[in-house]
Symmetry: C2
Subunit: 192 residues, 2 copies
Amino acid sequence: MPLGAPHERSDAARNRERLLSAARDLVAEFGAEALTMDALACKAHVGKGTVFRRFGSRAGLMMTLLSDSESEFQHGFMFGPPPLGPGAAARERLIAFGEGRIYFVLENGELLKAAGAATRNRFDVPATKLSHRHMEILLREAGIADPRVMAMSLTYALDPERIVDDVRVRGISPTRLTDSWRELITRLLPAA
Amino acid sequence: MPLGAPHERSDAARNRERLLSAARDLVAEFGAEALTMDALACKAHVGKGTVFRRFGSRAGLMMTLLSDSESEFQHGFMFGPPPLGPGAAARERLIAFGEGRIYFVLENGELLKAAGAATRNRFDVPATKLSHRHMEILLREAGIADPRVMAMSLTYALDPERIVDDVRVRGISPTRLTDSWRELITRLLPAA
DNA sequence: ATACTAAACGGACTATGGTCCGCTTTCTAT
DNA sequence: ATAGAAAGCGGACCATAGTCCGTTTAGTAT
């Protein structure tokens, strides 16, 4: 709700609530993958145009649905206690960040995959962009030559599709993922 | 063409040629992204069902279109001269592999993106799978604790979508990509 | 040459994300 | 209270990947 925004009309607010509620129900019952925009419009007793006016796209809807748990995770690495939050060395923070992200993805994987799948470049997902910035800063702090590009490599290494498929399709345990992430960061960044 | 395969019927062969030729024309003229299965069927004077019978899916078509340059690249890292091919240390081979892959992707990016976009997990693209195996072997040779998982991280770091978008959308030069890849591998693998 | 079979064909049909635009509702200024 | 404007609404419509199935055709056995 931007400050200068003109008051949201009451019918718009009502429909937004209806849609969010219906969407959460559908996701809870059938999973995010199975959610279709038609079904959502129907269940919320709203026209299809309204769904798209509200959320822009399927990806936009998924991002909205994500925003709560997303904010929580973001808060953790930006303001929370070390090693995830500020106060620890970049290396430790990156390790903790990757581990946190892996578990975050495993909890919200369907939504994240759905959010990323529909976007042209998955980078349009704000959560992804913020993660990237965060890693970029830590990598710079740790003396990486091109933190922006390296952060992109690591971002893709933590791609929701990759993590979810590793665990659910290829049978890799979450522990193996976090261990490998730790090895990656440990070798990548010189010990303090 | 598997050995025991029953002879391919002449009409099937004729239609395959027509389709491949039409597809190459369309890609050359409008780009891979713009190719629709309807347009292809129409241009090849063939029913839509035939297109799908031949290639299974849009991704399948793209993979078929890719197979030539793909084989060439594969041959390079499996049988070619070092440092890309066998004969060099794992570290050097991985660096060369990443660089080669980056340029390969930049040349065939549209097809690769199109091939990956339509697949459930982009891992179904055979080129990707083979790259993964190759990296896994080199990582094992270099003493990485969990080569399979680490190879997956690196595979995603070289994702076609990532590379193409870095260069075309985010304005990263190919050189920056290869430099960063070199830094990544150099730090990741202990010097010989 | 004929009949038979399995493969191949083609295009109508479905599913789904997304757009468009004429109609309706809410808010605001008077 | 009223009128006008701006925002919102809804569902018909479009594009496109992929499926289905009745019909056709190439090869084969006789």
